[in-house]
């Protein structure tokens, strides 16, 4: 289960001397604003929104890679700030970042390494890597170096990595972004299976309205860092989701307005 309350994230310019690392100061940007959300066990919850809506920011806060500026969040009851170590054992994040692998190692070697980081002993890591490679249909390419993988294969490898430790909560950032329709359909079916058969909670960020409507129980429409509404595709259908999404997109983006108390 995932719960957030009044969650906010503002990116500010670093103070001196840390500002020496950047090129110039920028205005504060509010990536998330007062976001309150509850995703139940076994639910697939979609985050739908345009670029810069705050979808990845929310996933990273839940994966403990970002600290919230206001409010808070819990995963399976563990606080993402105060109990970050516990949260990291409960969640797995699959990003669309292709660079997040060791390109000179094979898919299998990568997965065995990350299984080791999850605490698996040598043989258990090997067995687990084999199992998740099978789930994402990459067994026949397991011993090729990741540098030779296609973008879609790396995407599937990223999902395989997220499944290594069998976490109760999966955070998927655009999991089908670079996949062809057949491969995307397979990944979507796999996500549904993980939720339905294994009661995993899945939070999935996507730009693709059709995908969200096809696999999510509920969809949160995120615009300019705020949760503008939640729709249930089961009740309104894809057209209903589309209509609601476009209506909510019209609301003005005011994130670049001055932040109270900041220059």
């Amino acid at each position: 289960m995932i719960e957030t309350w009044n969650l906010g994230k503002t990116f500010r310019s670093p103070p001196w001397p840390l500002s020496l690392a950047g090129r110039r100061s920028v205005r504060p940007v509010r990536a998330l604003v007062g976001l309150s959300l509850r995703v139940e066990r076994g639910e697939i919850f979609g985050l739908l929104g345009p670029n810069g809506a705050g979808k990845t920011t929310l996933l990273k806060v839940l994966a403990t890679l970002l600290l919230p500026s206001e409010g808070g969040a819990r995963v399976q009851g563990a606080d993402v700030v105060r109990e970050a170590a516990a949260v990291r054992r409960l969640v797995a994040l699959a990003t669309g970042d292709e660079r997040a692998f060791y390109w000179r190692l094979s898919g299998r070697e990568n997965l065995e390494f990350f299984a080791g980081l999850r605490g698996f002993a040598r043989h258990a890591a090997r067995r687990r890597a084999e199992a998740v490679l099978g789930i994402v249909d990459l067994l026949s390419h397991a011993d090729e170096v990741v540098g030779r993988y296609s973008t879609g294969m790396r995407q599937r490898l990223s999902i395989a990595r997220a499944l290594l430790a069998d976490p109760p909560v999966l955070l998927l950032d655009e999991p089908t972004r670079s996949l062809d329709p057949v491969a995307a359909g397979r990944v979507q079916a796999m996500i549904k299976r993980l939720s339905e058969a294994e009661q995993r909670t899945v939070l999935i960020a996507t730009h693709q309205l059709g995908e969200a409507a096809a696999i999510c129980h509920r969809i949160g429409i995120l615009v300019a860092g705020t949760l503008r509404g939640v729709v249930a595709p089961g009740a309104v259908g894809e057209d209903g989701v589309r209509q609601r999404y476009h209506t909510l997109l019209e609301v003005q983006d005011d994130r670049h307005q001055p932040v109270a108390g900041l220059p």
């Binding site: 690392a21 890679l65 970002l66 990291r88 997040a100």
Partner: protein
């Protein structure tokens, strides 16, 4: 057990990555094979009578300098390993995924450094083997307990400097200047190639504030003259003080740097 599995995973990964560039490994061996005889022939220039500064260490310049070079190499590697590894993970884009794994920060710092430290430790052993087997250094008087204690304290002190450097890399996304500056200063003042007693008084005083000075002095006396911990208590206490002060400070700064990058959203930036 989990930490052991995590460290093993880091070691296997680094072994596999290193096996793709065997040339680098061969170069490390070649360097030792090249440097050791150079130091030996340089040592033949300097006779005990010509250098009273070497008398406390038994008078043999080759034994003095090869111990200095070997230990300095090891401590410098301990210092540079974590920062270099953090920078590499930043550049290839894997730092965020490592940080989202359930690995504690001390295990992460150790795991990132371990392979390079072990490789350099192998180089250190090779220096000593060549020194003993080929060039006849007399190690009959080694006090192993003193060597072990001084090594642990020296490595702890240099690891602390390395963690400072890793924090710098996290914050500034830039190869750190701390390790090269500190290594350069240590080589100049710490007695790698000559005893600090040859330095002018001002530099000699400065050398006392460099951990390497005490680590090298203690190791040489323990290896070449068989000094026990009692005779080395001054050096041991100074190294203990350095590590007791620097390690917690470095751990605090590294933890703060991680939290800061999570706050500013720059953990994955490079």
């Amino acid at each position: 057990m989990t930490a052991i599995n995590q460290l093993r995973a880091f070691l296997k990964r680094d072994y596999l990555l290193a096996s793709y560039s065997r040339l680098a490994f061969a170069w490390q061996v070649f360097t030792v094979v090249l440097v050791a005889p150079t130091l030996y022939y340089l040592g033949r220039l300097i006779r005990p009578a010509a250098s009273p500064h070497l008398v406390p260490y038994g008078g043999d310049y080759f034994a003095f300098v090869i111990l200095g070079v070997a230990l300095f190499g090891l401590l410098a590697a301990v210092m540079a390993a974590a920062a270099a590894a953090v920078r590499q993970e930043q550049m290839i884009g894997t730092l965020e995924v490592l940080m989202s794994s359930p690995v504690s920060l001390p295990t992460l710092a150790a795991g990132l450094s371990l392979w390079n430290i072990l490789l350099t430790a192998g180089q250190t052993v090779l220096y000593l083997l060549l020194g003993v087997v080929v060039f006849g250094i007399d190690l009959a008087r080694v006090n192993f307990v003193s060597v072990a204690v001084v090594l642990v304290l020296g490595m702890a002190t240099f690891a602390a400097m390395g963690i400072f450097a890793a924090a710098f890399v996290l914050l500034y996304k830039h190869p750190d200047p701390i390790t090269s500056m500190f290594a350069g200063l240590s080589a100049l003042l710490g007695g790698v190639f000559y005893p600090p007693s040859v330095l002018p008084p001002v530099l000699r005083t400065l050398a006392e504030f460099i951990p390497l000075t005490h680590a090298l002095r203690a190791i040489r006396l323990a290896v070449l003259e068989g000094y026990g911990l009692g005779a080395l208590r001054r050096e041991v206490l100074i190294l203990l003080l350095f590590s007791a002060v620097l390690l917690p400070l470095a751990a605090y700064l590294f933890r703060w740097a991680v939290q800061y990058t999570k706050q500013s959203g720059t953990l994955g930036a490079y």
